[in-house]
Amino acid sequence: MLMVIFCFFFSSCFEITEDITINADGSGNFNLILNASESKDNLANYMKVGEVDGKKIPGQSELNHNLVKLKFILQGISGLSNISIEKDFQNFIFKISGNFSELNRLNAGIIQVAEAFNTSEFPVPRDHNFKAVPGEVQRFFPYPIDQTFYDRTKSSVQYILDEARVTSIFRFSEKIKSFSNSKAKLSPSGKAVMLKATLAEISRAEKTLANKINY
């Protein structure tokens, strides 16, 4: 849903990458990258004007403040450490990275961040995005998809959904035995799996980020 909201403020491409490395003992690190450099001119203008289609656009100081808040929350989650945030307001590239003692701790991070930034009257869903047990990692995608949304929406939004990309990478210290998502690709080394999709493909349920990886 967050991705769809992002769409309304972009008129060019943007890319979101989640990059997770899992060590042999189940610990690891994560990187979440939002690359909006292809929309940087528009975003700079939006921020100057402060509003688009009646929706308030946060300025740089507000965005900085929110990034600090995000870091603070993640640092407070037990099992997460070395949280760092890189921000580039020239090219509009933002990176959030950190370490985890086990992958499941990311679930708590996601829920707490969502709750901290939730301004709607609806509660944040508490479904997990990840589940890790020795030898197996599951990436869930527990968000309801309205498959008719794409066809019903205006062509300008369709264009944004077609151009916006999501990449999910899981990297292991051992070779991967199998993975469930047929649209994912195995790296030549056999230790990493990558899934790429556009937001349009996800909204039409043609692709999903969900994957079950055995290693």
Binding site: S12, S37, N45, P188
Partner: protein, 619 residues
């Protein structure tokens, strides 16, 4: 002798034609709200109809009509309208006529076989209706009727305006009058207020809403037509049906004259004010704001009429139109008495011209139209008690009309002149063997349509003030002679004033460097001449536009783009200058093939697009 014989035959033939037309015309209302004259013979003289009929697209349309007619829907034979007994070679009329309480629309046609039509009508569940002293056999189905007789037919629809909604209809209200109303004494009781004890909230189980949901039945009293008596309805229908099948003496001379002008396959005339008032009434706008909306539409277009003539010539489809408005609207001024600023020419780039629209209207005449329209709207509304015109002069205290006319000179040009490319650097990611991201900077080319708009400004000082206000509000940045618009529109947009011209363009080079000289390759003489001589002019290079759209990623398909480039040349629309109170315009769609009939070319184009060029017999 031969000449006399030829002349006699010609006169006989013409008079016969006229007499046939007169037979149909006798059943047209004298002053309809709208009238359309369809002349199949005009088209048949220009194109071989069997060639059109062989196209798959025409067959598909006919199959669609065929499926709706029970008597032929199961037949394996190819269908055409002649199968219904309608004479498709002779003139037909369609009209819409406002009657008190509603509107009648009808198609009046000649027949080849009345019995065939009667047979089809009976299979459509139309019931025979007996009408005394009528030369027609009439069949009706609620508000629709078909009358057949004398080698002709009238196919009509009667649309009654809905009655105003009365929410209290059908309810009896009786108010009892109380004679002995006495004030009762109220005893004040002092009670001990116990401490509120919080009850344990009962637990509500989640339940399927659908199980408990009651279907709400809308009471009859909320039905909009509830208070309309069926008997009154039928009376209106019967009265107007009878009126529709009685001879009227034909169209009034003025309407006949208007239709006679038309050279094309279809000529139409409409009374704008009456039409808009009827449409708004049928749409229920009489119920909005106590009927103000209906009055608004009727008064806004009062006295205006429109004429249109559709021609399918070889190599071009032409629509000639004419809008008439009363001279009082413009207070005697000519709306089209204005010229485009000659200095505009150097700001219209000549090569790759995708389209240009120009306009030159007398601002004072236009202002009078707006004023008179609003005043007549206000005068026509009982709510204003006819004070509209009395209040109008007081508005002059606030609004300086002359200043407005001096500010905007009434001329404007918008030109789309190709594609503007610019480069930008973006960051992308490549991945190594283990899918580790490697950041990479690359340069991508972005494209936007290039356009320039311009208008003559009579008051440069105030225009400059407006731009400065924009700068103070943060929507514009000033760079000396020009301004850049800071709104998030996805591309750079500039504004500048050069002499008496306001320019708005996304061509940075023009605005930042060539403001005084304009383009070296300005628009060609031929196109400029058309712009100069017109009050309004449009030129649109359709194939180039489709080519450009496909470059932008619109999913048109190479095939469609190629087809359009091979068949359509351009679209133009021109309204000449100095026409008084009638604005005549000509719209032309020109084709690459200048020798074939344009209707055939249009149908072939769509046939190729949707049916891969199939036809049922070879052409």
């Amino acid at each position: 002798m031969k000449t006399i014989l030829s002349t006699l035959i010609f006169v006989l033939f013409t008079s016969l034609n006229l007499s046939f037309a007169q037979t149909l015309q006798q059943f047209l209302p004298a002053n309809p709200t709208a009238i359309v004259h369809i002349k199949p013979a005009v088209l048949q003289a220009k194109v071989n109809m069997s060639e059109l009929e062989s196209l798959e697209i025409v067959h598909t349309m006919m199959d669609g009509v065929k499926s709706m007619i029970p008597s032929v829907s199961n037949s394996q034979d190819e269908f055409n309208l002649s199968a219904l007994g309608i004479d498709t070679n002779r003139d037909m009329y369609f009209y819409a006529n406002s009657e008190e309480g509603g509107m009648v629309t009808a198609l009046v046609v000649n027949l080849t076989d009345g019995a065939k039509l009667e047979q089809n009508v009976k299979e459509l569940n139309y019931k025979a209706k007996s009408i005394a002293d009528s030369q027609f056999k009439t069949f009706a189905n609620n508000d629709q009727f078909i009358s057949i007789g004398n080698g002709m037919a009238i196919l009509g629809m009667l649309s009654k305006d809905p009655e105003p909604f009365d929410p209290y209809a059908g309810m009896d209200w009786e108010v009892e009058e109380r004679e002995d109303w006495e004030e009762e004494e109220v005893e004040v009781m002092e009670e001990e207020i116990e401490e509120a004890v919080e009850d344990e909230m009962p637990e509500f189980e989640d339940h399927d809403i659908e199980e408990d949901e009651e279907i709400v039945e809308v009471p009859e009293s909320l039905n909009r037509y509830q208070n309309e008596s069926p008997a009154l309805n039928q009376e209106w229908l019967d009265k107007n049906l009878m009126k529709s099948i009685l001879p009227t003496g034909g169209l009034s001379l003025s309407k006949k004259a208007k239709l006679a002008k038309g050279k094309g396959v279809m000529t139409a005339w409409v009374d704008y004010g009456e039409m808009m008032s009827s449409i708004s009434s049928m749409a229920g706008m009489d119920m909005i704001a106590g009927g103000m909306m209906e009055d608004l539409y009727g008064n806004m277009y009062k006295g205006m009429d429109a004429y249109m003539d559709l021609q399918f010539n070889d190599g071009e489809m032409v629509i000639e139109s004419e809008y008439g408005y009363p001279k009082s609207l413009t207070r005697g001024l000519d709306l089209t008495d204005a010229k485009v600023n000659p200095k505009f020419r150097k700001y219209i780039k000549g090569d790759n011209l995708l389209g240009v629209y120009s306009m030159a209207l007398n601002p004072e005449a236009y202002g009078n139209i707006v004023k008179e329209t609003m005043l007549s709207v206000m005068d026509g509304m009982p709510e204003t008690m006819g004070l509209g015109r009395d209040l109008a002069p007081l508005l002059g205290v606030i609004i300086d009309e002359q200043a407005i006319y001096n500010f905007f000179k009434g001329d404007m040009v918008v030109a789309f002149t190709g594609i503007n490319s610019f480069e930008k650097t973006v960051t992308t990611y490549e991945y190594d063997e283990d899918f580790n991201p490697i950041e990479k900077e690359s340069t991508v080319e972005s494209k936007i349509p290039e356009f320039t708009a311009m208008m003559t400004i009579g008051d440069r000082t105030n225009m400059q003030r407006i731009l400065n206000i924009g700068k103070k509000m943060g929507v514009m940045e000033s760079y000396g002679k020009y301004f850049q618009v800071m709104a998030p529109i996805g591309f750079d947009l500039f504004m500048a004033i050069e002499n008496d011209i306001l320019l708005i363009s996304n061509d940075a080079q023009l605005i930042t460097h060539n403001l005084s000289t304009g383009y070296a390759n300005k628009v060609g003489g031929e196109e400029w001449k058309k712009i100069k001589k017109s009050s309004m002019h449009l030129f649109w290079n359709l194939p180039q536009t489709m080519n450009m759209a496909s470059e932008f990623g619109f999913p048109l398909g190479e095939e469609v783009v190629n087809m359009s480039q091979e068949s359509i040349k351009e679209i133009t629309w021109t309204t000449p200058r100095k026409q008084g109170s009638n604005m005549a315009s000509t719209m032309k769609m020109s084709f690459v093939n200048g020798k074939e009939n344009s209707l055939k070319l249009i149908l072939k184009f769509f046939n190729d697009m949707f049916f891969a060029g199939n036809s049922r017999t070879s052409m």
